[in-house]
């Protein structure tokens, strides 16, 4: 059962919040040992389910939360040894808003350490498996959230997306994932990786379910200086009739894709044509090099953001007699990928290299953003694959650069700050394929309306439940 259907049954009292929480917990206990989607379960969830006010709009709806979003009193590790025992004394704004509306945090999901990776294999604890094939990755870095939703261990989940970390795992696990316009969801309480790109986003098994979460958690927050004052109106927008729009197919994302991705794109275009959409090929010339700019900018920001993990105020501290050796040994506990990015970031920001790297990437980012803006004079939304291929085998990307290329099609929207949504649109063999829609700045609602038109026109043909459903 989808989250909005579950909500209706809860509202009609056909199910109680406790029954719902128990059913999902039972599935987690039965199935998660094989999947590894969760790092921590909320042991108080049944108690919270008993106490929740049934009149609240999300009363009793369980949500899984990526473990780089802080939850007051519930361990938050960011997938790192440095925060292995960290119990946050405060709540992220997104979580506070969901809880205030009656949603229940079921548990915290696995991720690549601090969000750095595309497979969830860079978690310091264990890798997560893809529910469609336990020999394959769920994608990342929000792999635990995507796998949990795909396996229906939970109806809704939050992830975070810096270069594609909601969209790519959503595509690999056959679910919907939205990266909102930068600033629409507060970053207060999101453990920072690359602050100019980081954005919390929802994962679910239908468009309407994404809308439930966005209406609950988006909106201005004085605690985030980059928060936008754009009140969410997702469910309202989905109720309005949609006149056909102009879709731009991004030329730079048309070659080098696997056969299943190519087929899904071709079939989706037919669906949109049938719905009356105008289809046009457009060019986003800087897109193929967006990844190069991303791997200057994101590591630069990471090297500054992760400076705080020095073992003095909270988190892990190495043993030792003198301060600096203790700090260096403490930070030696970062995983290899985190060290790689911190060192790259330190290099591109260091004296003598700043102009050559960081300033060049910033200029490129402005160009890419200007190109995207111009494209939206011609079309209302862009359509391109989320990833060039479906989920790859565990251990299948030993080369860091090959792993980085996973985000080839997703980093463009990230660098431009634009909203982008991945929706299930096909299969390659038994593996899901996702396509991505990108909308103009602040037009997140439009993305959901277009995706809903597709979901309804195809009668949810691409939504599968590889491990069955809770309800």
């Amino acid at each position: 059962m989808l989250a909005h259907e579950l909500r209706a049954r809860l509202a009609r009292k056909e199910l109680s919040p406790k029954e719902v929480a128990e059913a999902y917990l039972k599935r987690v206990q039965a199935l998660d040992p094989g999947l590894g989607a969760f790092l921590t379960l909320n042991e108080r969830v049944l108690e919270e389910a008993e106490r929740v006010d049934p009149g609240l709009p999300l009363a009793g709806l369980p949500v899984a939360v990526k473990d780089n979003i802080v939850t007051k009193g519930l361990r938050t590790t960011a997938g790192s040894r440095l925060l292995e025992t960290f119990i946050p004394p405060y709540e992220a704004t997104a979580i506070a808003r969901l809880r205030a509306l009656g949603a229940l945090v079921l548990g915290k999901t696995n991720l690549d350490e601090f969000g750095m990776g595309s497979s969830t294999e860079h978690s310091a604890f264990f890798p997560t498996k893809n529910p469609f094939d336990p020999g394959r990755v769920p994608g990342g870095s929000s792999g635990g959230s995507a796998a949990a939703v795909a396996a229906d261990l939970v109806p809704l989940a939050l992830g975070s997306d810096t270069g594609g970390s909601v969209r790519q795992p959503a595509a690999f696990c056959g679910v919907y994932g939205l990266k909102p316009t930068y600033g629409r969801v507060s970053r207060y309480g999101l453990i920072a990786y690359a602050s100019s790109l980081d954005q919390i986003g929802p994962l679910a098994r239908s468009v309407r379910d994404l809308a439930l979460l966005m209406d609950a958690m988006a909106g201005f927050d004085p605690l985030d200086a980059t928060s936008l004052d754009l009140p969410p109106r997702f469910q309202e927008a989905l109720a309005e009739p949609l006149s056909p729009l102009r879709l731009g197919v991004v030329r730079e994302a048309l070659s080098g894709n696997s056969p299943g991705v190519e087929r899904a794109l071709g079939e989706a275009l037919e669906v949109f044509r049938t719905l009356g959409f105008g289809i046009k090929e457009v060019s986003w010339p800087t897109l193929p090099l967006a990844l190069n700019a991303y791997y200057i900018l994101a590591p630069a920001e990471a090297s500054a953001n992760l400076a705080r993990y020095d073992g003095t105020l909270y988190g892990y501290r190495a043993e030792g007699e003198e301060l600096w050796p203790v700090v260096e040994a403490t930070r030696g506990r970062f995983g290899l990928e985190v060290k790689r990015r911190i060192l790259v970031g330190t290099f591109v920001l260091s004296s003598g290299y700043y102009e050559a790297y960081y300033a060049r990437a910033q200029a490129f980012r402005r160009r890419l953003r200007a190109e995207a803006k111009a494209l939206f004079q011609e079309v209302d939304a862009l359509l391109l694959p989320t990833t060039p291929h479906p989920a790859f085998p565990l251990g299948g990307r030993p080369d860091p650069l090959a792993m980085y290329r996973e985000d080839l099609y997703t980093v463009g929207a990230s660098l431009a700050g634009l909203p982008a949504l991945s929706f299930p649109a096909g299969f390659e063999g038994h593996l899901p394929v996702g396509l991505q829609l990108v909308a103009p700045w602040g037009q997140d609602e439009r993305l959901l309306r277009v995706a809903l038109a597709f979901e309804e026109a195809t009668d949810r043909a691409f939504l599968r439940t590889p491990l069955g459903e809770a309800f």
Binding site: L323, L336, L343, V344, P400
Partner: protein, 89 residues
């Protein structure tokens, strides 16, 4: 991009990260390749001016984390202070 072992050690010092000898050997290769990769980025003219993102809130006092709660998270605390190992002998 030429990345010498000396430059890598300088980066380790700047980033305050200790690498094992195996990690140094591996990351020396990785970093060279990553820097070559990002170096393929062309130089473009400035594009449009950077948009002004965000806004600052008024600097008004509001309740913050109680001292005991903050210190409870510390690896080591004493008499209301965070305790760290000595900086100088």
């Amino acid at each position: 991009m030429e990345l010498s072992p000396e430059l890598l050690r300088k980066l380790e010092t700047l980033a305050k990260i200790r690498l094992s000898p195996e990690e140094e050997a591996l990351l020396l290769q990785d970093l060279k390749r990553i820097l070559d990769f990002v170096d393929a980025l062309p130089r473009v003219e400035g594009g449009e001016a950077e948009e002004a993102w965000g806004r600052l809130r008024e600097d008004e006092p509001r309740p913050s984390l109680p001292q005991e709660e903050a210190l409870a998270l510390a690896p080591e605390a004493e008499d209301g202070f965070f305790r760290v190992p000595p900086v100088l002998e």
